[in-house]
């Protein structure tokens, strides 16, 4: 029996295990968004294609299952570009299905864009389907490429004629064979042995882990490595959650706004064990000054990440989970009293923690943003929430004060730093876990980039709790302007902001405002106990800065620390 391309597409998606599609419909994808017959796939109509694509990222990061997006042609696709780029740098497995003009391309027709050309720089791979018969094979390959190796976004352009044509469906392919694509899973045994030897000899080692650990589902293996070797461990923004934050060897986040002692460990270490991380400039600072005094082991599935910025002594290309399993086997054979050997190193780190603690002072009057975020994290910890963030100061504070026990609970835009990531990422995660507690810690600037998604949350009864850390300006930009410029007023604000409580109500959500430090606790509790989507406007101190900080382009030794607290009886130090 012959069926349409749209029906074949749907069958292929079901075969790939797709249950949720985020998207925005339109002219040439009508066949796709409105296929006939019963099917188990839920279509979530977002208000913007960028949001649909970020939502798929959030869905992927929270579940480990490839996110799926379906959008129309032209501006429908170009709107996805930001989110595709975000997914590419942060290695998010998503498949974006795009509508295309009937068959002939390049005629400048209505709502036409050079989709594959546009996607070239912002996808792991892209396909155009020329024949309806190719749909099952291409869908199989698209999902395989998105999820395997270093995960990434894959785009499939589907001309309307291909979707409308009727052909015989011959079933979904059982396997994929792409001769130019063969991600290496197992690490080289010789290299793993060399790595184990270096670790066995190290006196002041540190583990620097990244998002690759989460993508490879290798948190258990990392945990085991830390347990065997007693090596203190820091994680990047993308790696948060790979080790429980309550672990005694957990150092906190490193990098530009990382914790002082985490960065200090990288400066003083004699061995850096980099796992699933890519020596991003936000981590290394001036790359040529990074790691020159120590040995470096680098485990990554993406060969292009190795030796890109920093020279590495023992590179290991492979799946982080496979490599760590073998490495742990090797290290278990090592006869060494790790805890005793690292006593001095651990002691040094404790001393740094005492000398330069992460702190803020919540006095009476105005809410400190750190206090608000710290309280949100403390008060929700028992629910094991999924936390999405926007980009900016609030993101840094949320990462610095993060409390989490499990991977795939932290959603943040790292590589691209996309403002507006919070709402959609939370949306995607909540769609995957309708009963779980999903928080969006956002800024007043970033939340307005994708505020339209409040409608989607209300539509689908997705009870995301959004906390807008409202400082009435683009805080991070203001902070750096303050450092480099004497111009007043600064281009980052103050900005006029809407009344977020009224706005939430206008959208059909619940709005709450918190303005005084003594109301913070009750406000947060009220928000998490209110059913349905909630927006909490947390009005905070405007001029608070994110510290510690390493100025862009500087070496990590140039870390700028928080000033010592001024003695004040009414102040309350938390850390």
């Amino acid at each position: 029996m012959k069926i349409t391309g749209a029906e074949i597409l749907l069958k292929s998606l079901v075969e790939e295990g797709v249950t949720t599609i985020f998207g925005h419909p339109g002219g040439v994808i009508l066949h796709g968004t409105d296929p006939p017959g019963d099917h188990p796939i839920k279509y979530i109509l977002c208000r913007h294609e960028q949001v649909a694509t970020h939502a798929a990222e959030g869905y992927y990061k929270a579940t480990g299952r490839t996110g799926t997006v379906m959008v129309s042609s032209g501006s429908g696709v170009t709107n996805c570009v930001t989110a595709l780029t975000d997914a590419l740098v942060d290695s998010m497995a998503i498949v974006v299905l795009t509508g295309q003009l009937p068959a002939v391309m390049g005629w400048d027709a209505s709502q036409e864009a050079d989709v594959v050309g546009t996607a070239r720089g912002c996808t792991k791979h892209s396909f155009v389907v020329f024949k309806t018969e190719e749909i099952p094979r291409i869908i199989k390959e698209a999902y395989f490429i998105a999820r395997s190796g270093r995960p990434g976004p894959v785009l499939v352009d589907l001309p309307e004629a291909v979707m409308a044509d009727c052909v015989a469906y011959t079933g979904h392919p059982k396997s994929v064979a792409i001769r130019g694509y063969n991600p290496q899973m197992a690490g080289h045994p010789g290299q793993i042995k060399r790595a184990a030897e270096l670790i066995a000899q190290a006196r002041r080692p540190v583990i620097y882990g990244g998002g690759g650990i989460i993508h490879a589902d290798a948190s258990e293996e990392l945990h085991e490595l830390v347990e065997i070797t007693q090596i203190p461990t820091t994680l990047t923004l993308m790696g948060l959650g790979a080790l429980p934050t309550s672990h005694p060897l957990w150092l906190g986040m490193l990098g530009m706004h990382g914790l002082y002692w985490a960065n200090r460990c990288l400066i003083d270490a004699d061995l850096i064990v980099a796992i699933g991380s890519r020596f991003d400039d936000r981590v290394t600072g001036k790359a040529c000054d990074f790691g020159t005094q120590c040995k470096i082991i680098h485990v990554d599935i993406d060969p292009t990440s190795i030796q890109k910025h920093v020279k590495v002594d023992v590179p290991i290309v492979g799946d982080v989970r496979c490599v760590l399993r073998e490495l742990n086997k090797e290290l278990r054979k090592v006869e060494r009293n790790w805890a005793r050997d690292f006593e001095e190193w651990h002691g040094q780190i404790e001393a740094w923690k005492k000398q330069h603690p992460l702190r803020y002072e919540q006095r009476q009057g105005v809410i400190k943003p750190q206090y608000a975020i710290d309280m949100i994290l403390r008060l929700t910890e028992e629910y094991d929430p999924i936390i999405a963030t926007g980009v900016g100061q609030h993101q840094v504070w949320a990462a610095q004060f993060y409390r989490g026990r499990k991977p795939r609970r932290w959603l943040s835009s790292g590589g691209l730093g996309t403002m507006g990531y919070g709402f959609p990422a939370a949306l995607g995660a909540q769609a995957a876990f309708p009963k779980g507690l999903v928080l969006n810690i956002d800024g007043d600037g970033g939340s307005q980039v994708t505020l339209s998604e409040l409608s989607t949350l209300v539509d689908y009864k997705l009870p995301v709790k959004t906390f807008i850390i409202n400082n009435r300006c683009l805080g991070m930009v203001r902070q750096w302007h303050q450092r480099v410029s004497t111009h007043q007023p600064l281009p980052a604000g103050p900005m006029h902001q809407p009344d977020f409580v009224k706005l939430a109500e206008a959208y059909g959500a619940v709005g709450i405002r918190i303005e005084r430090p003594e109301d913070v606790k009750a406000g947060i509790e009220k928000a998490i106990n209110t059913p349905g989507p909630v927006v909490v406007d947390v009005v905070v101190e405007r001029e608070e800065n994110c510290l510690p900080a390493i100025p862009a382009g500087a070496a990590i030794t140039d870390i700028v620390r928080a000033p010592a607290p001024t003695p004040d009886k009414s102040s309350q130090a938390w850390h």
Partner: protein, 192 residues
């Protein structure tokens, strides 16, 4: 990071899927990383589903490591080899139209003869020569023709092939040799 070996010319030979847009991907990737392509040439191999791309790129060892890895990362690129790491034979063909007023014709003809170039077209005022050779030979020929006035120059871009017999165990045998397409049949990624 800077390389240890100073920038030099590298000839890369790629086996790629013979599909729409592959060349654009390769060119786009190299451009996006800020590297310049000196020349590129493309043609089908014995297997019509596979094309060979020959790229000439300048860079130090660190740049080249990145270029090779990045090219390898492209799904449609089946194999990449830096021929300059091995022994190889290179050729380029040019068509060059040069001013050939009657007093100069004999001299130009002599130069062409020495370089084994052919006169493929002529007018009262010009000769059009066809020549093949490696980069040095082509350069030398052009230098000698320059004083007469070169009206137009068309180059194919470099192509190159590894010297299999000299490096029997090398990867070149598998990729760039007479049965290069064998190299294309590397173990594919399989998922079920």
């Amino acid at each position: 990071m800077k390389g240890q070996i100073p920038p030099r010319r590298h000839i890369l030979t790629l086996l790629v899927e013979n599909q729409v847009g592959v060349l654009a991907r390769i060119a786009g990737l190299i451009a996006a990383k800020g590297y310049n392509i000196d020349s590129v040439s493309v043609g089908e191999t014995m297997d019509a589903s596979v094309s060979r791309v020959t790229l000439v790129v300048h860079g130090d060892d660190w740049v080249m490591e990145q270029v090779l890895k990045q090219l390898n990362r492209l799904i449609e690129v089946i194999k990449v080899v830096d021929l300059t790491e091995e022994e190889f034979i290179e050729r380029e063909m040019i068509l060059v139209r040069v001013n050939a007023d009657p007093p100069n014709r004999a001299e130009i003809f002599r130069i062409a003869d020495i370089f084994r170039a052919k006169v493929v077209d002529l007018t009262h005022r010009t000769y059009t020569l066809e020549a093949t050779g490696d980069e040095d030979k082509i350069q030398a020929l052009l230098e000698l023709l320059r004083p007469f006035g070169i009206k137009e120059l068309v180059r194919t871009g470099l192509i190159a092939i590894g010297r299999v017999s000299k490096t029997p165990s090398s990867k070149l045998e598998r990729v760039a040799g007479g049965d290069g397409e064998e190299g294309a049949k590397k173990s594919p990624a399989v998922a079920t």
